[in-house]
Symmetry: C2
């Protein structure tokens, strides 16, 4: 029987409580589909800072290195906002993890689910047109990791991209498009940035290998506008690190259902980090009312991308869909709901 | 009698036809308020490329240098999209103008007008909360103008900011806030960028001179999200060049009424360039149905910021408000409307 080792980094706020549900779901599907998951928990983020002084302790990093994938909760909260920005839990745990494991590819689906279209701030004018976008974001390059510096009266950051960095993320986007609606919108600022001119060239070269996929280029400012005017226009969005950071959050806002959106950060050879798109929601932490769906769907993505357990991943996704259809949702999705975190988790398991 | 010399760069698409209305309005208010405006037209953008090979011909630049302000239409269109990005009309005319005249400060108001709230894609859920944002964007620094380069297999851009660059734009934002709702939201990515850490420091230092103004810092990704979830949260938005480019277009999309939004680009000592936030709208160019309001309001900003003719500026703004209240609007604002560009211009003049 296949055995997968996962590092479970639940983190802060609602992280631990939604993680419990995801682990229960994993236990059931692994039974059903004949594999086993061995999970080990470790400290990350604010909780790790409090316990060890570091947002990403050595022990946690070692565990990750000895694992086949990382299931990540969420990190940060009011307790740590007074730390300098570079030491804040989210940044100080995620950036080194991405770099250490070469997680160059971030996938963030953003959907308006027809049944929950009214969650969208764009309801009903625009939400009725629907939205189903996959944001493919480069995650280990660009201005995040280029040379930076500081003198007393000035500072600088460098955005650098190489052909191979652009090429590998482009391929992911085009491959994904062939399994979706065959359209890639590549985001850049080629009228201003040298890196964007290179970006366009490389994307166009890669596009030649995918004649069935329609490619369009769009400036970042125009994309920020068009996502609001016509989100249904987009299928796969291909972005560099910074533009992807901005647009994936804009897309999440348009969807209006952060609690339903998972994400995957991949290294191109099975290893990955999986986390909900939303944050730690400190205001509702510990109350048992947080939405566990994004965490459960993140676990499904892990089964798909890290373990190749496609059938098990689909089973989770279908169980989630049926749970949503039954209206078993937390209050962020339906303010009149009385279901809590555990109820939703149990419903997903019942539907498996 | 005061005499102001303005360079009129109408440009492409609907630029010339909306400019005609703005000039008529200027002629009337200058009469009423006892000053004169001497305007000279020159080529810019695509029209200039066609006629001279350059988007910003020497003669046009000379005219601008000999003028007290630039009233700009809009540039670009399908005819020139096949040019390399760096040679496209908009970029090749605006960036050198900004740099030549040190137009470091871009002001873009973004409003949901209660009477036209249904234009907003966020109608009715979010639009009902209203929006009245002034985006203050640094316009001559950052990654736009830093060192850039290219080898065969890589490219780079540099974002650089000095204390003095950040300080002067921050002051504009705080000054503006004191005349509005006393709140500044400063946008950065201080958890990743060295320039953003400096940005925060300088903004905080400037804030000390404005104890009545509430300052908050917000990461760019969060801002892209919160603008959609709660646009009423924002008063003055203070942004660097790139983040301001993105968020000002996001705000325009949320307003849903590009045809009503003017902008001003200032150098801190009266000289400025004034242009509508929208584009050349090639699909409706020459049909006499383009909305002239953004161009007319841009002329009002010119009277205010370059000439100190506050009363005349207000008179235009009030005439526009009354025209809108009467429902004399073009089809972009009310699809059932039969009013054209000239009708709206005439109505503004009648209301003066
Ligand atoms: C915490 C921060 C550094 C991070 C990023 O900017 O990538 C976050 O916003 C994200 O998108 O995962
Ligand atoms: C044309 C382009 C270079 C310009 C910019 O990015 O500043 C435009 O988008 C704007 O906002 O005026």
């Amino acid at each position: 029987m296949k055995n997968y080792k996962i590092a479970v980094l639940a983190g802060d706020g609602i992280g631990p409580e939604v993680m419990v549900q995801a682990l229960k779901v994993l236990a059931v599907v692994s039974d059903q589909f004949g594999f086993s998951i061995q999970h080990t928990e470790a400290l990350i983020g604010g909780a790790a800072i409090d316990a060890t002084g570091a947002a990403l302790p050595e022990a946690t990093l070692t565990l990750c290195k000895n694992s086949d994938a990382i299931l990540f909760g969420s990190v940060g909260g009011p307790k740590w906002t007074s730390l300098p920005p570079a030491q804040q839990p989210e940044r100080a745990s995620l950036l080194p993890l991405r770099k250490t494991f070469d997680l160059f590819c971030n996938l963030r689906p953003g959907q308006i689910y027809p049944a929950f279209a009214e969650l969208s701030p764009l309801h009903p004018k625009i939400s009725s047109q629907g939205m189903d976008i996959l944001c493919v974001r480069e995650l280990t390059g660009g201005i995040y990791f280029g040379e930076k510096g500081r003198t007393e009266d000035a500072a600088f950051d460098t955005q650098k991209y190489s052909v191979s960095e652009i090429e590998r993320i482009s391929r992911v986007a085009f491959e994904a498009a062939t399994k979706r609606r065959n359209k890639v919108t590549s985001i850049d600022k080629a009228n201003v940035l040298a890196t964007s001119v290179l970006w366009r060239e490389v994307v166009e070269r890669v596009a030649k290998d995918y004649p069935q996929v329609q490619l369009e280029h769009m400036y970042i400012d125009n994309a920020a506008m068009q996502l609001i005017r016509a989100p249904q226009h987009f299928d796969v969005l291909l972005c560099d690190n910074l533009f992807g950071d901005i647009l994936s959050d804009e897309i999440a806002a348009i969807a209006g259902s952060l609690g339903l959106l998972p994400s995957a950060s991949l290294n191109g050879s099975n290893f990955g980090l999986y986390e909900p798109a939303g944050g730690t929601a400190p205001d509702i932490a510990g109350k048992g009312i947080a939405n566990p769906i994004a965490q459960i769907l993140s676990a499904a993505l892990m089964l798909r991308y890290s373990f190749g357990e496609e059938a098990a991943a689909r089973a989770i996704e279908q169980a989630v869909a049926s749970t949503l259809e039954q209206g078993i949702v937390t209050r962020d999705i339906n303010s009149a709901s009385n279901y809590g975190t555990a109820d939703v988790g149990a419903a997903v398991i019942a539907a498996l």
